[in-house]
Amino acid sequence: MSLADLNVASPVVVAILTALAILLVDLALPGRTTAALVTALGGLLITAIVTISVGSGVATTAFGPEGLGMYKLDQLTTFLDLLFISIVAMTILFAPDYLAPRGLPLAEFATVLVFAMTGAMVIAASADLLLLFLGLELMVLPGYLLAAYHKTDGYSTEGAIKYFLLGSFSSAIFLFGLAFVWGLSGSTNIHEVSGTLTQVTTGAIPFSPGLAMGLAFLTTGVAFKIAAVPFHYWTPDAYQGSPTPVTGYLSVGPKVGAFALILRLFVEALGPMKADWLPVVVVLAAVTMTLGNLVALTQDNVKRMLAYSSIAHTGYMLVGIAAFAGGQSSGISALLFYGAAYAFMNLGAFAVIAALQKRAGVTSQLSTFAGLVRREPALTFLMLLFLLSLVGIPPTAGFFAKVLIIQSAVEAGGWVGVLAVVMVLNAAAAAFYYLRVVVYMFVRDPVSDAPGLRHGALLWGGLAAATVLTILFGTFPGLILGMVGDAARAITG
């Protein structure tokens, strides 16, 4: 390991140092949440600055021979790192209002989150299948901890156990698939795997049953991680049981992380065989969005509803992958834009729920939202914005994200074009359950006459950031399109 390697990998190093610093601060000043918060947010800021400063237009690798290192720094890495950092920073901003009344410690929460972020960042930078798996495990293990964070709550532990069991199984299946691919190609380096697979597609190397099994296992493992139907059963329980800020994080952080995995694994390593996995992705996308939406229609718990809707959004994002496999590299930039837009609007929606649950004992049932506009007008209008964005009404981020995905799908044509139609019909159906929350907030009479709550400045700050980004991505998408395009070109060439 040379100093140059360390320089390339510095964002991950700083992230780990941040997590350790929070632990140390909490050790030195136990229970002082302000100190922990300052350390966490400051550390994240430094991580972001480092990420931007080491990022460059030229792809470089580290930890290995020139150009074949395990760790890869390109514009996709930079973009995803910044996205992960913002997701974690926002989650930390939203957390204190929820955690404090329940007596849950903040410092550990922030530490675990930052560790999870480090895992996601490793995935985003992987140029090697082993590192990919390492990053994946580093990302999901803290997720299990977070899901069980409210350990005296039965639902929290139940959800966490389901999440843990299915997550471990899927990791094992995924690793099994990696082993098959390694067995065929004789290398774990993504560049070399891709080269071998190109030979398979040209017929130089036969398409062996082992490779087919490897592909099937990898697809299954990844489908678990992104909660694609029919591998989604852990999602609703894990989401509903987890403390709300954790749910917000789980619905975007690991999801974007898993899509980063798809980009590095399927698009880069398995890219040459895209014609073979295209039909699978098309079917997965169609089934995932349709089933997610249909089940979400019948939910009367908002957290659970958003959990199913996040399954549907997974389906929409898969359309971007399908468009790539159908020959349109614009599918990747559309996917990245969607990931960013979805992260901010969904985090915003969960932040509102978390804010309402500041009063202990408040559930996330629809009835909590009845007549909300009278008690919490500001939060209500923000929730309205996030929900409209999730529906995809202009001029919000969610709208433009859908446009980009549809555009790439239409360009790809064929069955992917049909997928675009399936997607818009789904989006219309989704409007029903999102707008049901709006109906409760604006139309129903409140069930309790509890007065409005005082919310922390951190929460308002986080919400302001989510709001601004949701509107900005929708009205001036050009601001981020360039960045997204560069990131996508890093892997599509």
């Binding site: 202009p394 239409v410 989006a427 219309a428 159906a429 409007a431 050009g478 399109l481």
Partner: protein, 549 residues
């Protein structure tokens, strides 16, 4: 002022922000002021507009918005847009004025919704970029959703969600078609996105026939739902009945025109071949709408529902006029759009007047209003006759020109449509007779001194509509001269290609599906609206029956 269109479009938005910031007690006056400023600004458009200009669009503003995809902020108006923009700004301030006394709850949110609604509606009429058009088109949805959902009647939640879902299904498919047309253009220009969403560029592009058929169907569905054309109209009666009075006025007067405008502006010039292919089917659907709307209106026990179904019938004349592809038909369609806006808007206001006093709209409970509310009886009589197509009032000219156009296309079509005007006279006059003549009903007597005649504000809201109805009835040329250029351009565009020859089987399927649906629907309607004991609300599956406030 070369930013006049932006000013007209976004003045209401500024107003909405001011209303949102200012204390609640100023909400009414601020909203009215914003709407009046927008109205005044739109009158400057009329002054500055040159009907004889050779340019298709005037007051054009174009700025790059998302250059990566050639998406522009491009506005511009021709005569058709101008007429509809002025109609919008006029009816918005009237509606806001008419909301002063009925809306007592959450007035601030109401006014903000209303002004944002106006931004969306004006934007739809002035946008020249298909993407921008779509954005305005969707913006309209949200405030209307809130207006019906918050300030509506008992079954407002069912009605408003039905309205949103219907509209969204159509419009999202249109979004796919917008992107597909842009992509086809880009692919035809070597991957250059510039102009791919610019209507003035796309108009001359000439799309491949297969794409035309699919894109036409997607656009058509979105617009047909909005118009609403039979058989996509079922959201309309629910939305109208549940909406507050001003919401109904805007819904009928402007929002239905969004669909008709879209058909004229986008579907005909962009997909001329497909439009001609489907023309006959659409004419048949229009005839069904004209007759069906009238027959169903005849048996409505609810005053507002009667006017709502009469809208379906009247808008049938608009689509009929558009798809006969001749000048008289198109002229008639456009005039009918304006007249329907004025007259049906006024009728909804009048329904609101009576509802304010009685909190009931059941025709059977009324009677003898002539003695208790003479001014009301006169106003209602005026607009009933205007709606029925009395010569000398504007309703007549529009329907007459539509029929002339239809006659030129096929005498049979005109004959069928004309017969239906008898029904129109039937339901309107019968309604008027039951409401106004005879003894004052027991129900109304029970109201005692609450049954006052119209107030000054109510008369003020109706007066401009009545005046315009007379003026356009006597001088339809005021509108026709403005839209002459638009009509000629659209017709030239729409007939520049031969119809797409689609395989016989496909044609049979495409024709058979709507007819099957029609038959099924008629059976369904016969069960509910006619036989089901009153059709007041055929909404047994309402998701929120306990939502009374």
């Amino acid at each position: 002022m070369n930013n006049l269109l932006t000013i007209v479009t976004f003045t209401p938005l500024v107003g909405a922000i001011l209303v949102a910031i200012a204390p609640g007690r100023y909400a009414r006056m601020l909203a009215l002021a914003a709407a009046l400023v927008a109205w005044a600004a739109s009158l400057f458009l009329v002054i500055g507009f040159e009907p004889s200009s050779s340019r298709q669009f005037q007051f054009v503003e174009a700025y790059d918005w998302i250059p990566a995809f050639g998406i522009q902020y491009k506005l511009g108006i021709d005569g058709l847009s101008l007429v509809l923009v002025v109609l919008t700004t006029t009816l918005t301030w009237i509606s806001i004025l008419a909301s002063f006394s009925p809306i007592k709850d959450r007035i601030k949110e109401y006014m903000v919704s209303f002004l944002i609604l106006e931004v969306g509606m004006i934007g739809v009429f002035v946008a020249l970029d298909t993407f921008l058009f779509y954005i305005f088109w969707e913006i309209v949805l949200v405030p209307m959703y809130l207006i019906i959902g918050i300030w509506g009647g008992v079954d407002r939640i069912y009605a408003t969600i039905k309205f949103v879902l219907y509209t969204l299904v159509g419009s999202l498919l249109m979004l796919v078609a917008i992107i597909a047309t842009a992509f086809a253009y880009q692919a035809g220009h070597g991957g250059n996105w510039a102009g791919a969403f610019d209507f003035t560029v796309l108009r001359t592009f000439g799309f491949d026939p297969t794409l035309q058929v699919f894109a036409f169907l997607a656009f058509f569905l979105a617009f047909a739902i909005k118009v609403p054309m039979f058989p996509f109209h079922t959201w309309l009666p629910d939305a109208h009945v549940q909406a507050p009075t001003a919401g109904s006025v805007i819904l009928a007067a402007i929002m239905l025109k969004l669909g008709a405008y879209g058909l004229i502006r986008f579907t005909l010039p962009l997909f001329p071949a497909a439009a001609q292919t489907f023309g006959p089917v659409i004419i048949v659907l229009s005839l069904i709408a004209i007759i069906y709307g009238a027959i169903v209106a005849l048996v409505q026990p609810d005053l507002k529902k009667l006017v709502a179904y009469s809208s379906v019938s009247h808008m049938g004349f608009v689509t009929l006029g558009i798809f006969v592809f001749n000048e008289q038909g198109m002229d008639g369609a456009i005039l009918q759009m304006v007249n329907h806006g004025l007259i049906t808007g006024a009728l909804f206001l009048l329904v609101g007047v009576i509802y304010e006093r009685t909190h009931d709209r059941t025709i059977a409970k009324m009677g003898g209003l002539a003695s208790a509310m003479p001014a009301y009886a006169v106003a209602l009589g005026f607009f009933v006759f205007a709606s029925g197509g009395l010569p000398g009032l504007s309703g007549f000219v529009g329907e007459f020109l539509s029929l002339v156009g239809a006659f030129e296309y096929s005498p049979w079509v005109a004959a069928i449509a004309t017969i239906c005007m008898v029904f129109a006279a039937g339901y309107l006059l019968w309604m008027y007779q039951r409401l106004v003549f005879g003894e004052l009903s027991e129900f109304l007597k029970g109201l005692g001194h609450h049954l006052t005649d119209m107030t000054a504000v109510e008369i003020l809201t109706l007066a401009p509509l009545a005046a315009l109805t007379v003026v356009f009835g006597l001088f339809p040329g005021l509108v026709l001269d403005l839209v002459k250029g638009s009509v000629a351009t659209v017709l030239a565009d729409a007939t520049r290609q031969d119809p797409v020859q689609i395989a016989t089987q496909t044609a049979v399927v495409l024709v058979a599906l709507p007819i099957l649906y029609v038959v099924g629907r008629l059976i369904w309607v016969a069960r509910i609206d006619l036989g089901g004991g009153g059709g007041g609300t055929a909404v047994v599956e309402s998701p929120a029956p306990e939502a009374a406030s």
